[in-house]
Symmetry: C2
Subunit: 351 residues, 2 copies
Amino acid sequence: MTTTPPSPAPRVTIKDVAARAGVSKGAVSLAFNHRPGLSEATRDRIFAAARELGWAPNPTARSLAGRRVDVVGLAICRPARLLGLEPFYMEFVSGVESVLTERSCSLLLRLVRDLDEEVALLDAWWKAKQVGGSILVDFHAGDPRVPAVERSGMPVVAVGHPSLTGSLTSVWTDDATAVTEAVRYLAALGHRRIARVGGAAAFGHTSIRTAAFDEAARALGLAGAQMATDFSGGAGARATRSLLSASGEDRPTAIVYDNDIMAVAGLSVAAEMGLRVPADVSLLAWDDSQLCRLTHPRLSAMSHDVHGFGAEVARTLFEVITGRGGGSHPVPTPVLTPRGSTAPPRGAGHV
Amino acid sequence: MTTTPPSPAPRVTIKDVAARAGVSKGAVSLAFNHRPGLSEATRDRIFAAARELGWAPNPTARSLAGRRVDVVGLAICRPARLLGLEPFYMEFVSGVESVLTERSCSLLLRLVRDLDEEVALLDAWWKAKQVGGSILVDFHAGDPRVPAVERSGMPVVAVGHPSLTGSLTSVWTDDATAVTEAVRYLAALGHRRIARVGGAAAFGHTSIRTAAFDEAARALGLAGAQMATDFSGGAGARATRSLLSASGEDRPTAIVYDNDIMAVAGLSVAAEMGLRVPADVSLLAWDDSQLCRLTHPRLSAMSHDVHGFGAEVARTLFEVITGRGGGSHPVPTPVLTPRGSTAPPRGAGHV
C-alpha cells in the first residue's frame, strides 16, 4: 500500500515535533527555514521527528530575506521524449525529492533547449526570488553557467567533475576510475576486443569516460572501439547491432554500456542475432537500476546508487543555501557488480 | 547529440517569431501569457515558430493578474523510492514537460505523504500565487481534493475517471474497457485460469480495473485471481512467484499486469522457475514503455501512449487556465498489442 487513507489523524503541531526531537519550537522553525544555528545532527533529528509524525510547516510562512526557501530549481537540457526513456533521471529526481519531501520543499523542474536558455532561466528564477537555489547538471567544457552563477551569487550545486564546474560547489562521481576498473576486469577475464557504447559526446562526463576508456585500453594493449549515442534503448540496440555485425576477428567479445537501458537493449539484440550471453559476448551495464536484476541472465553492472546520489546533491544544496557549503564532494565510485552477463570469452583458456 | 553547443546564434527576437508565424508581436505575447483571444490553430503556429527559432519569452515579465502563469504544479503521493522505479511517472512527466517547454513553463513537483498534506499544499501554492494551475493525479473514492479545489477555484486538471473527480475538468483513460478486452482476448486464446497483478488498492483506477476484471472473468466463467502490489518490480516478482507456485490445477496459465516493470519482473520469475513464456504461461503487460520491446520474448501489452497522455493533460490545463476548459476528456483506450509473450495454453486444442 503506497498511500494513507484521507481520514485525518489527530492534528499534529509544531509543538509535538519539537517535543519528539527534544528541541524548542524555535529550533524546528530554524530547521525548516534553512537558517543557520543548528548542528547537522539536530537538523536531522528534527526532520526525522517531522517525518515520523507526518508534520509539515505552513508553506506560506517560509522565506529567507523575501526569497522562497521551499523551492529548489532543476533545469535539464534534454528532449522531453528522452527524459522519459532513461531511468537515470527519474532515480536522480526521486533521490532529490526524498530529501526535499523531508524538508517540505518542492522541485521546480524545467526542460531547456540549450545552455543559453538555461543561463537566462536561472537568472530569471533568481531575480524573481522563485527559488532558494538550483541544481545544475550535464556540464560541458567551458560551460557558460559557471561564470553566470559566479556573477549572480545564486546558491547552486554543480553535478559534475570539479574540472568542469569552476568555483561552484560540486558533487561528482569518479567516472574515470570506474571506467578503468571495468576495462581491467574484462581484460582480466581474457577479453582482448572490448567496445564501449557511450552517451552523448557533448557532455563533460562522457568525454571523461571516453578518454579513460582509451587510456585503459591502450595501457592494456587492447582493441577498444567506442560509439556515441543519445542514451536511449533504441540507440543502444543500433550500436550493439553494428558492433556485433563485424566479422569474427573484429567483433568485440565484451561491451560496456554508459547506462542500463542500453545494456538491456544490447541483451535483446544478442538474443535476436543468436548470440549467447555471456558465452559469445559479455555485456556490462552502468548505473544499475532494478532493470539489471530483471533480465535473464541478470546484467553485470558498474553499480551506482543514483537515488542516493540525488539525495546527496539535495543535502549539499541545503548546506550551500545556509552558507555552510563549498568545495567538491565526491560520492562513492561505481563498483563492479558481476552477475550473469559477464564471463571469460570462449577460447581464452578459462572455462 | 542532445544539446547544442553554448556559442550563441544571432539573437532571435519576438519580431522574428511573429514574422514566422504570420502574426503580430502582440499575438505572440498573448499566446505566451496564456491570455484569451487567439484561436487554437494560431496558438499552435506561434508555439511551433518559437520552437523552430529557439526563442523563449523573458520569464520575469509573465503573469496574469499578479499570478505566475509560467509555473504549473504537480503533487504526487508516493514514496520517493517508488517514483524512481516506475516508468509510468517519468513518461507522464516527460509528456507534460513536452508541452510546458514549448510554452517556456516550468513544473513545480512535490512529493506528499498523504492527501491532507496535498490539500494544504495546493491551497498554499494558490494563495501565494506560486502556480497558474495544477495537475492532480491518483484519485481515491471521496477524494478530499475535489471539494477543496471547488472551493478555491484554482485551475486544475484531474487525471482520473469522472466518477472520482466531481466537477473538475478531467482527463482519463477507459481502464474498464481495456481490462475487459485483455481478459476476453486471453479467454479467446483458450485460457481458463487468468490472474491479474494489480496496483495499490487505495487508488480509484485500481478499483475500477479490479471490478472490471472480476466482472469480465465472471461473465466468461473463468477462474480469475487478483493480487495487489505497490507497482514495483520487486512486488511484481513476488506476486508472480506466488501465483506460479500454485499446484497444476490452480496455477494460472495467463497473467495480466498493471504496468510494464512488473511484467518484466514476471518474465524473469518464469525463467527462474523453468517455465517457458508463452508455452507454459502467457504474460500481458500494461502501459507499454520501451521496456516491453527490449525483453526476450518481447512482451505483449495493453499499449497506452503515456507520454501523449501527459501532453494532453498539460494542454487541457492551459485551456482551463485561459477559461476555455471544462468537462471530461477521454484519451484513447489502451489497445492490445500482441507480441511474443502471449499464446494459447498447452492442451487448449490450438497449436
